[in-house]
């Protein structure tokens, strides 16, 4: 019963961005925004790249992310597995399915953190602006002030749907487990 809902929630990832990073500075009253999709990075990326060259941060290019190939494939496989479990109707498979979901979520966050860390720390030593001790790693989630920019990192519509599907999976798994 819960499986189709989870699959539908995950399908939203192809229609909505999963994560967004919003930035604001005095010179950018309307703010700048970057949206991370399951297979793309969109928004004011060229402007952000232009600004980041001052601090020597690497420019962001869609092509650099193998994740944009892996992620749709793995989520797609996961959704297909869901259909299979629906047919087989084995509880144990549902538990395994939930486990895989949590694993994907964990790996994704770790990977996201790794990218943010690398962008924020591996800076060009010849960059025009160098603030001693300063790194520019954006927050994994939440708010951070980086020089003249305020940065807010949070899930977008697709991401929230992903979180909802995770809650459903974990909730039902716990409920079924206790019932035994």
């Amino acid at each position: 019963m819960s499986i189709p809902i989870v699959i539908i929630c995950l399908a939203t990832l192809w229609f909505f961005p999963m994560w967004r990073i919003d930035m604001r500075a005095p010179q950018y009253p309307d703010g700048l925004s970057m949206q991370i999709w399951i297979n793309d990075v969109k928004g004011d990326v060229p402007i952000i790249n232009g600004l980041n060259h001052y601090i020597g941060m690497k420019t962001i290019h869609k092509e650099d992310f193998l994740e944009f190939v892996f992620m749709p494939v793995s989520i797609g496989c996961f959704m297909a597995a869901g259909v299979l479990i629906m047919v087989l109707k084995k509880k144990i498979l549902y538990y395994v399915w939930t486990g895989i979901f949590l694993l994907i979520a964990l790996l994704s966050f770790a990977d996201f953190y790794r990218w943010e860390y690398n962008y924020g720390h591996n800076l060009d030593p010849n960059a025009p602006i160098q603030v001693p001790g300063m790194s520019y790693q954006p927050p994994l989630i939440g708010y951070k002030k980086l020089l003249n920019f305020e940065v807010l990192s949070q899930p977008d519509i697709g991401g929230w749907c992903y979180i909802v599907s995770g809650m459903i999976l974990v909730g039902i798994t716990c409920y079924e487990w206790k019932k035994k």
């Binding site: 060229p46 402007i47 232009g50 001052y54 025009p128 602006i129």
Partner: protein
């Protein structure tokens, strides 16, 4: 005893001369206060007079938002100096760097503002310009042949079918050499009708109506029932050619010239006109190539009223009329005899009735003169001294500026009674109510554009800014709200609600749509190309460097063209470009744009160039060097950015 003292004080106070300070009262400050970060509700386009430009103000704050270069060069952004814009100021006599810009008209559809284009006239070298309201850029300039003193221009018809241009200083048609004293025989005024393409706005002279030698002063199109007609005021129907001050003020009445432009259009189509040779420039700016081109045209169609019956009539109008204004209903034609002690108001329906009933009192050089009383709706008695221009509020009221008595007079169109008067500071010329010359005026504000400033602002030596006053006209009594300085000498102005154009402003140009011949699509494409003594530099600008920023192998006498492409794709990140000792102006290059600055070095040396628009934290670093070597030396052509002697050696 006490009573006497009070009475004496009161009497003494009443003896005091009234000062300007006493004129401001109530909540004027709150009505004009636009809080920081908030927007004005109205765009006010103000003619620049002898500065040749158009200023844009916000109302009700009176804040200056922009100066649009139109008929005068503008070294500040390179208009008229860059290779792309020189052609905009081209005429049959070459590039003319200045003009006298008097009147403006916003494009209309069905008699209402549509927020597409702004038209501007040049009085001295007759021209009409069209400004695009998404970029606030001059897109087109059309020269008017067979004319001089293009004053009754650029007024438009209800659907912007035509923009008119009327001659103030009659001249001989063609280029015949004639004595000035042969004015009556050889001099003519013309009323030119310029067609405007519905979609592109492109202008073309459809026909010119040849009129007797006299001075056409101002004009306005009919609307509603009078849609087919255009009305021009005239003076000097005495046909004086010297000491006009006296000799053109002899007759008791001059004329309002009523032109049936629909009829004229039919006559032109029917081949009643005569195509004659005439030379005039037509300059257009192409947004795709980001460059202007100038075409010299060589023919124009003339319509002679003799061959076109029922096309033109004269309505007698007292004492050298100036303003010629049509009320929102299209029924009333207000002529303002600047030397008259009254304001005649003509009725369109009575005028057509008089034409049908042949109520004429003779003719002026073959053009029928309608009997004054037959066309008259009535006269506003004792309105003030020196009536010039009239605007309307859409509530049945008219507002006329009085130059000599320095006041605005509000009167009723229905019974022609004066309702209110307020002083202006000083000697008002034109008035403007937003949409005040359309079918749908906004009845909230009125602005008076004055000719004399004197003590209104902190003094700045003998040469002062002009002063304008903003009035609240929403109530029965007009209320003075604000003084603000204007530049050049404003004549007519236009205004529209900000919402009409605010949201369609272009923020930057899409670099992928840049079709400039010398665009540099990315730093890797930066280049320097020599062909004979012409050197083309394909340069890019992005925060905070220029590519190339070191250029060698250029020689004295070379013609060097810096084609600078601004690679930015973000709002409000222009870059500037200037080079030392260049007897030329600078450039301002908007994001996504390519602009070219020419430099012909006549001395050997190192010439720094730099970005002049503070673009970023490292703006001061955004500079480079051009090495100019003596003619005939063998310095190889070399250019780049970021290459130093050591880094080159390391490679």
């Amino acid at each position: 005893m006490l009573g006497l003292a009070v009475a004496t004080t009161a009497a003494m106070q009443s003896c005091k001369m009234k000062t300007a300070a006493t004129a401001v009262q109530g909540d004027a400050a709150t009505k004009t206060y636009v809080a920081p970060g908030k927007y004005d509700e109205i765009y006010n386009f103000v003619s620049g007079g002898f500065n040749g430009q158009v200023s844009v103000y916000g109302l009700p704050s009176g804040r200056l938002l922009k100066v649009i270069p139109v008929f005068a060069v503008n070294p500040e952004n390179g208009y008229g100096y860059s290779e792309e814009t020189k052609a905009m100021l081209n005429t049959t006599n070459g590039l003319i760097p200045w003009d006298d810009q008097h009147h403006l008209d916003l494009s209309q559809t069905n008699g209402e503002q549509d927020g597409r284009w702004l038209f501007a006239n040049a009085n001295n070298t007759p021209r009409v310009a069209r400004i695009d309201l998404t970029t606030f850029k001059t897109m087109e300039v059309l020269q008017i042949p067979n004319s001089a003193g293009n004053h009754s221009s650029p007024f438009i018809t209800e659907n912007t079918e035509y923009v008119v241009a009327g001659t103030r200083f009659s001249v001989p048609l063609g280029s015949e050499d004639v004595p000035i004293s042969s004015f009556k025989d050889n001099f003519h005024s013309t009323a030119s009708f310029i067609s405007v393409d519905k979609n592109t706005g492109k202008m073309d002279i459809a026909f010119q109506i040849v009129l007797p030698g006299m001075n056409l002063d101002l004009s306005h199109a009919g609307k509603g029932p009078s849609h087919d007609w255009f009305f021009f005021s005239s003076y000097n129907t005495e046909q004086a050619y010297t000491l006009l001050e006296v000799n053109a003020s002899q007759k008791d009445k001059d004329y309002i010239v009523a032109v049936n432009w629909k009829k004229a259009e039919e006559y032109a189509k029917a081949g009643k006109g005569k195509k004659v040779p005439a030379s005039y420039a037509h300059n257009t700016y192409d947004e795709h190539t980001q460059s202007a081109t100038s075409e010299i045209k060589n023919e124009v169609l003339l319509l002679d009223p003799k061959d076109c019956p029922d096309m033109i009539y004269m309505i007698p109008c007292p004492k050298s009329p100036h303003g010629c204004d049509i009320d929102p209903s299209g029924e009333y034609i207000v002529g303002s005899g600047k030397l008259a002690a009254l304001i005649p108001v003509f009725s369109f329906s009575k005028m057509t009735g008089a034409i049908a009933g042949k109520q004429f009192e003779g003719d002026f050089k073959g053009i029928p003169i309608i009997k004054y009383e037959a066309a008259l709706h009535g006269e506003v008695q004792k309105p003030g001294l020196g009536p010039l221009h009239t605007e309307f509020d859409g509530k049945g009221n008219a507002y006329t500026s009085m130059f000599l008595s320095s006041e605005v007079v509000k009167w009723s169109l229905k019974d022609l009674k004066v309702l209110d008067r307020v002083p202006t500071y000083y000697s008002v010329g034109h008035l403007m109510i937003p949409g005040g010359d359309t079918k749908k005026p906004g009845g909230k504000y009125l602005v008076a554009y004055n000719k004399i400033t004197k003590d209104r602002f902190l003094p700045t030596g003998p040469e002062l800014a002009q002063s304008a006053q903003l009035y609240d006209i929403s109530g029965d009594k007009m209320q003075l709200l604000l003084d603000f300085p204007t530049f050049g000498e404003p004549h007519y102005a236009q205004a529209c609600q900000a919402s009409l154009i605010k949201d369609k402003q272009v923020k930057f140009y899409d670099i992928n749509k840049n079709g400039h011949e010398y665009v540099t699509m990315g730093e890797k494409k930066a280049n320097v190309v020599r062909k004979g003594n012409r050197v083309d530099i394909y340069m890019t600008a992005i925060r905070s460097h220029l590519v190339p920023d070191n250029i060698e192998g250029v020689f004295v006498g070379d013609e060097v063209y810096f084609h600078v492409t601004n690679l930015e794709q973000d709002w409000d990140i222009p870059h500037g470009f200037a080079i030392k000792n260049n007897p030329n102006a600078e450039l301002l290059i908007m994001p996504g744009e390519t602009v070219t600055l020419k430099f012909t070095p006549d001395k050997q040396g190192i010439y720094p160039f730099y970005c002049t628009d503070f673009c970023s934290a490292l703006h001061q670093e955004m500079s480079g060097y051009l090495r100019v070597s003596p003619k005939g030396s063998n310095v190889p052509l070399k250019f780049g950015t970021g290459e130093t002697v050591t880094s080159v050696a390391a490679k």
